[in-house]
Amino acid sequence: MPNKRDTADGLTRRALLTGTLGAAVTLGATGAPAQERADAASGPGRPPNELGTRAAAERPKRLPSAISSRTPLQDLHGTITPADLHFERHHSGVPVIDPQRYELVVHGMVDRPTTFTLDDLKRFPAASRICFLECSGNFGRQSGERTTAQELCGLTSQSEWTGVRLATLFREVGARPQAGWCLAEGRDAAVMTRSIPVKEAIDEAMIAYAQNGEALRPEQGYPARLLLPGWEGNASVKWLRRLELADRPFMTREETSKYTDPLADGTARQFSFVIDARSVITAPSYPHTVQQGWIEIRGIAWSGRGRIQRVEVSTDGGRSWARAELQAPVLPKAHTAFRHLWRWDGRPSEILSRAIDDTGYVQPEWPVLQAVRGRRTRYHLNPVTGWKIGADGRVLFGVERVSA
C-alpha cells in the first residue's frame, strides 16, 4: 500500500526501499567510490575513553572580561548550564585550593565553634537543589544594537547543586537564637565577605560541594561554597573558609559601597539580596538572521522570589502580548524555558518578553524601573528587553528601549 509521505516529493517508495536513490545521490554529490559512505561512518570510530568532549563543530564559549565571564545563553537549549559554561565573577581571581587541606571554621555566637573538613561536610545528610545563580550586575549593553544575549545577561546560569543544608550545620554547632547574622568569608585573594541574615536564608541555604553531579568547578568555589537560592550571586560566597555568627551585620565593603542600590528618592537600598523576576529572548537574538515564515521565539525566565507564573511575548513592540508556553518542570527560583510560535510576515518588527512570578510581580519596562531607581543605580536592573528584526531578517538588540 503506497504511503502518501513517501511519494510527497515525487519519489517512489520502491526507490527509497531499494536504496537506489541514496546511491545516486552519493555518487552524484561526491563522485567518491561507493565504499566512502556519505550516510554512515565508513569504518569504526573512536573507541571508548575516559572523558567526553563536545562535537568538534560545537564551540560554545564564555565571554570573558577582566572581572567576569558570561554564559552563552544563545547557544543553550535547556535550563541546566553545562558547568564549564557557568558564568564567573570573582574579585581577585580563582584560587587553587587543595581539597585535602580545605577547612571551614564556624564560630561566633555558637555553643561549639567547629572546624569541618571537606569529608566532614560530605558526611552530613546531603540535599540537592536546582536553581539559578545570577550576578546582580547582570545588565550589559555596551555594544548597542550589536549586543548579544550573552552580553546582555550572560551573568546568570543554572545548576543542580548538592551539599549540606546550612540549618544542619548550624544545629551541629549550636547556633544561638540571637545570632541573626552570619559573616560568610571566602579564601580567595580578596578574602571576600558578605553578611547573611540567618532568618531569611536558613530555610534554603546550603554549603554546596557539587554542581551538576560532580565536584564544583574551581570558578564556582571549589571545594565548597555558600549557596543562597534566588539571591544575588555575590552573597553565595565561594571558596568558603569561615562562617561567623553575630547579632548584627558586619558592614563589609560588598554590602555598603558595593552591591547597594542608590534610588531616585535619595536613599540607597542595602541588603537587597533577592533577584526580581526577569526574562530574556535568546532566539532569535543578535547576530541571528531570520527568514519569513514560522519562527519559534525562545528564551528563559526566572525569579528569586519563587516560580515563574507566566511569560508574555510581544511581536509588535509591546502593543499586544501573548502567553508563551512554559517548559515543565517550572521550579521555584529556577530558569524556566519559554517558547512562542510566531509567523513572521517579513515586516520590520520588535519582539519582547516579560516575566510574571507567583507573587504577581511583572518584569518592568525601563521607564518604570528608572522612575523608582533613578539614573545612578547599577545593580538589580531587570527591564523588559527585546530584539528588532529588520525587513532583511537581521536581528539587532533593541537598545533604544533601555536607554536613559
Binding site: H91, S92, V105, V106, H107, R112, P113, T114, T115, F116, D120, R123, F124, P125, T168, R171, E172, L183, E185, A189, A190, V191, T193, R241, R242, E244, A246, R248, F250, M251, T252, R253, T256, S257, T260, P262, L263, A264, G266, T267, A268, R269, Q270, F271, S272, V274, D276, G306, D357, T359, G360, Y361, V362, P364, L369, V372, G374, R375, R376, T377
Partner: protein, 199 residues
C-alpha cells in the same frame, strides 16, 4: 502448616523496617558529632573582620601625613596620585558635601555639570569598613602585606582627603569607630517584597 509462622515473621520484619525508614525521614539527630572543635588559635588565625563598633581592630595607629607616604608607595599606581582614580576606582571626592551623589537634591546641586564619582567621601557609610577591606584585600597583588600602622595611616589619609577628619587626627582602634561618615545618612534596608509594584 510450617510456612505460616515464617511468613508472619517476615511480614513483621518488613513492617519494622518500614517504620524505621519513616522515623529516619522525620527527624535528624540533634547532633551528628561531625567536625572537630575549632581552637581559639585556629579562629584567631582567620578572624580578620572589623565591625562598625571597632571589634577586630588591632593595636597601632596612624595619621594622614604618614598615610600619604604609604598611599604613594602602595596605592597610587592604580587609584591615582590623589585618589582621583586610575585603572582602579576613585577613592577621594568629598562632593557633593552633605548630599548623596544621587537623588533629587543631588540633581538640583549638579545642574548641568557632569556626575561626581561614588567615593569614600560620599558613599562609604562606615569608616571601619575601610580598615577591614584594605587589610583583607589591598593591594590586590599582595593583600595582607600592610602593617597595622600602615593600614591605620592610609585610612587616615583617605578620610582626611575626603574632608571627614583633620590631617592631624590620630586613627586607631578607639577613634576609627567614632568617625561619622557622611554616607551613613542615606542607607536604608531593602523595601522590595514582590507583588505588583516595581521598586
Amino acid at each position: 502448616m510450617t510456612g505460616g509462622p515464617r511468613l508472619c515473621a517476615s511480614v513483621a520484619c518488613g513492617i519494622t523496617v518500614a517504620l524505621a525508614v519513616v522515623a529516619a525521614a522525620q527527624s535528624q539527630p540533634e547532633r551528628f558529632g561531625i567536625g572537630r572543635p575549632a581552637t581559639p588559635n585556629a579562629i584567631a588565625a582567620l578572624d580578620i573582620d572589623v565591625r562598625p563598633d571597632g571589634t577586630g581592630l588591632p593595636a597601632g595607629s596612624g595619621t594622614a601625613p604618614g598615610g600619604a607616604e604609604v598611599y604613594a608607595r602602595r596605592c597610587a599606581a592604580c587609584h591615582g596620585p590623589k585618589g582621583e582614580g586610575g585603572q582602579a576606582e576613585p577613592l577621594v571626592g568629598p562632593e557633593p558635601k552633605g548630599l548623596a551623589p544621587f537623588g533629587p537634591d543631588y540633581e538640583k546641586w549638579r545642574g548641568g555639570r557632569p556626575d561626581v564619582p561614588f567615593t569614600i567621601g560620599n558613599y562609604w557609610p562606615f569608616a571601619t569598613t575601610l580598615f577591614d577591606y584594605i587589610r583583607r584585600a589591598m593591594p590586590p597583588a599582595s593583600p595582607g602585606t600592610l602593617t597595622a600602622d600602615e593600614t591605620y595611616s592610609v585610612v587616615a589619609w583617605l578620610l582626611a582627603q575626603n574632608g571627614i577628619i583633620a590631617e592631624s587626627d590620630v586613627v586607631n582602634a578607639e577613634t576609627l569607630p567614632r568617625v561619622l561618615m557622611p554616607a551613613r545618612a542615606w542607607f536604608v534596608p531593602d523595601n522590595r517584597k514582590g507583588g505588583r509594584e516595581a521598586r
